[in-house]
């Protein structure tokens, strides 16, 4: 019995150390910032649908085309490995990715889904929405979500560069979807930080994508025992 407890203990410690080493040794981190004078974005005009408008009586719906944090760090930037990703098999997670339509706004604004993974679209608004994806490689989705349809599921089978989701009824509603076959990506929040882990030692091409400011690419070398760091700065061209 004592031997058994001893083995479990040693295994746990080893597992923690190994997983810690992997994250510590093979990751790319950094910050995304916006250079230059930040634009004064106008709030979105939702008056076309009185129900949507009534949901934003107190606070207008912000335009999410450029979301900045303090120090002009950027949210909604997709950072991913575009060259050198480990050629391993990465089965798609069984949990669905959630895209919700609340207050006539898509959340999240930028999301990643694995090829074959389920996408669950929610409609807590209780009004008519139209979910329209605009992929070039995958089959486009164009489904009505009436008030009584609170959720539906779909999936995309092929890897594809970011493409838009829109609601044709409420033209201000927009989200961006990236379909990938690996876990080597990160989406920034308002603090602009990203972290891609699970990488072996080696050279990688890292690309940061923003829906309107385009892409930035850098090459980094991940060494054993030391995380690589790369920062990106976007600006108006």
């Amino acid at each position: 019995m004592r031997t058994s407890w001893y083995r479990v203990g040693v295994s746990c410690v080893a597992a923690v150390m190994l997983s810690g080493m992997q994250a510590w040794a093979g990751s790319v981190t950094g910050t995304i910032k916006f250079d230059g004078q930040p634009p004064a974005l106008k709030p979105l005009d939702t008056t076309a649908d009185p129900v949507c408008h009534s949901k934003h009586k107190d606070k207008s719906l912000p335009n999410e085309v450029l979301v900045l944090g303090s120090g002009q760090t950027m949210a909604n930037v997709l950072v991913r490995v575009t060259k050198g990703a480990p050629a391993k098999d990465h089965p798609a997670p069984t949990d669905p990715v959630i895209l919700t339509q609340e207050g006539c706004r898509y959340a999240p604004h930028v999301f990643v889904i694995r090829a074959g993974q389920s996408l669950k679209v929610l409609n807590p608004d209780g009004i008519l929405h139209n979910v329209h994806s605009l992929p070039k490689t995958n089959t486009a989705l164009n489904k009505a979500m009436p008030a009584n349809l609170t959720e539906m599921e779909t999936k995309f089978d092929k890897v594809e560069e970011p493409f838009a989701f829109k609601c044709d009824i409420h033209p201000w509603m927009q989200a961006w979807c990236f379909v990938t076959d690996n876990p080597y990506y990160s989406i920034t929040k308002e603090d602009g930080l990203f972290n891609i882990d699970g990488l072996d030692a080696g050279e990688y091409e890292i690309t940061a994508w923003h829906e309107r400011l385009g892409t930035k690419t850098e090459t980094v070398t991940v060494k054993d025992g030391e995380p690589a760091k790369v920062d990106f700065a976007f600006a108006k061209k």
């Binding site: 004064a40 106008k42 085309v65 008519l128 009505a144 044709d168 009824i169 409420h170 309107r212 108006k236």
Partner: protein, 357 residues
């Protein structure tokens, strides 16, 4: 052998039948213009897929779709479908009426063609929805609407008995050449509307965002510097307004530029027509006024085109630009039909001659 009294009775019936045909055809012209305007509103609001099913509307029979759901962009698409249905029904009525009351086979065939075109247009509209608005289908849908308008104007002219003799006599000396210029203007305007449809459905409407200069140049060079300036402006607009304007390609810039250059061809064709009319019959005020009316339409259309750009495609302005284009096409075509004295080719003059005897 029919007596004169029987002839007169017969011709009176033809005249009254034609009066109904004329009224219906003119009503159709008006409704078709309304429909084209509503179609333009659909595109201007990007509402084409706000009703994602067809021929149903969110699973309802379209006539039973509850008005409480006609909100935001659904309003534009749904009302467009309802008015389209009305135009289809009126066309069906016109065909039935002509088949029963007009003895001229050629006119029956034209009425049938109108019915076939309106049915095809309905199916095309449905396909644009089911195939998620591919540009080629949307352009075809837009252009077929204008072509249907030509057909209905033609029928309206054929049924307009009272106008031909007055204007026909005016044109006798040089009818043929004037008709050629008027038909030429119609063809040139139709091509301009085709180009306009391509501009709209390839998202090239603001591919050149300034007017009358193009990409900051009076003589556009279509080089990388021009494209770069245009895309910088589009980025600025995206970050300062609610319009999401992605970068455009040089192809989109070229499509937009061709639409502008073709406007000069329309002007040249109109100038040619005007010169011919003044040369032929400088004393005829009525015909001159009609020609000047077309000129005013062209001026309004160019101004609306400029406003469409300066207002960044404000939906109402862009839709009025489409509507004025359709009115210009119809006016040019009606003018051409006057010049070539079509009724005499379809036996109407013969009917009137018998009546006069």
């Amino acid at each position: 052998m029919a007596t004169v009294a029987e002839d007169i009775t017969s011709i009176t019936q033809v005249e009254s039948g034609m009066m109904v045909s004329r009224l219906v055809a003119r009503t159709l012209c008006a409704f078709t213009l309304v429909l084209i305007f509503m179609g333009a509103l659909v595109k201007s609001h990007e509402a084409g897929l706000s009703v994602p099913d067809w021929p149903t509307t969110y699973g309802y029979n379209m006539f039973m779709f509850p008005p409480s759901e006609w909100r935001a962009n659904v309003f534009y698409e749904h009302t467009h479908r309802l008015v389209a249905s009305l135009v289809g029904i009126i066309t069906l009525f016109l065909f039935c009426w002509v088949a029963l009351h007009d003895r001229r086979n050629s006119i029956r065939w034209f009425a049938f063609a109108a019915l076939a075109v309106v049915a095809l247009q309905g199916v095309l509209g449905g396909l644009t929805v089911l195939y998620l608005l591919p540009a080629y289908l949307s352009v075809a849908h837009g252009v077929l609407a204008q072509s249907y308008l030509l057909l209905i104007v033609f029928l309206a002219r054929i049924f307009s008995a009272n106008v031909a003799p007055q204007w026909g006599s005016v044109f006798k000396p040089d009818t043929e050449r004037t008709a050629h210029w008027a038909i030429g203007l119609t063809v040139v305007v139709w091509i301009q509307l085709l180009l306009g449809a391509i501009v709209r459905h390839t998202e090239s409407g603001l591919a050149i965002p300034d007017f009358p200069a193009m990409g900051g140049q009076w003589l556009p060079m279509f080089d990388d510097a021009m494209l770069s300036r245009i895309n910088e402006w589009r980025l600025d607009q995206t970050l300062s307004s609610n319009a999401f304007l992605p970068d455009v390609s040089m192809e989109q810039v070229a499509i937009h530029a061709i639409h502008r250059f073709w406007a000069l061809v329309v002007l040249a064709a109109y100038a040619g027509l005007l010169r011919k009319i003044w040369k032929c019959r400088p004393s005829n005020l009525k015909f001159k006024k009609a020609a000047l009316g077309i000129g005013i339409l062209i001026a309004i259309q160019i101004a609306l085109g400029a406003f469409t750009i300066t207002t960044q495609r404000l939906p109402l302005v862009a839709s009025l630009h489409v509507l004025t284009g359709a009115v210009l096409l119809a006016a040019s075509w009606y003018y051409a039909l006057e010049a070539i004295q079509l009724p005499s080719y379809f036996g109407h003059e013969k009917s009137r001659a018998v009546l006069t005897e």
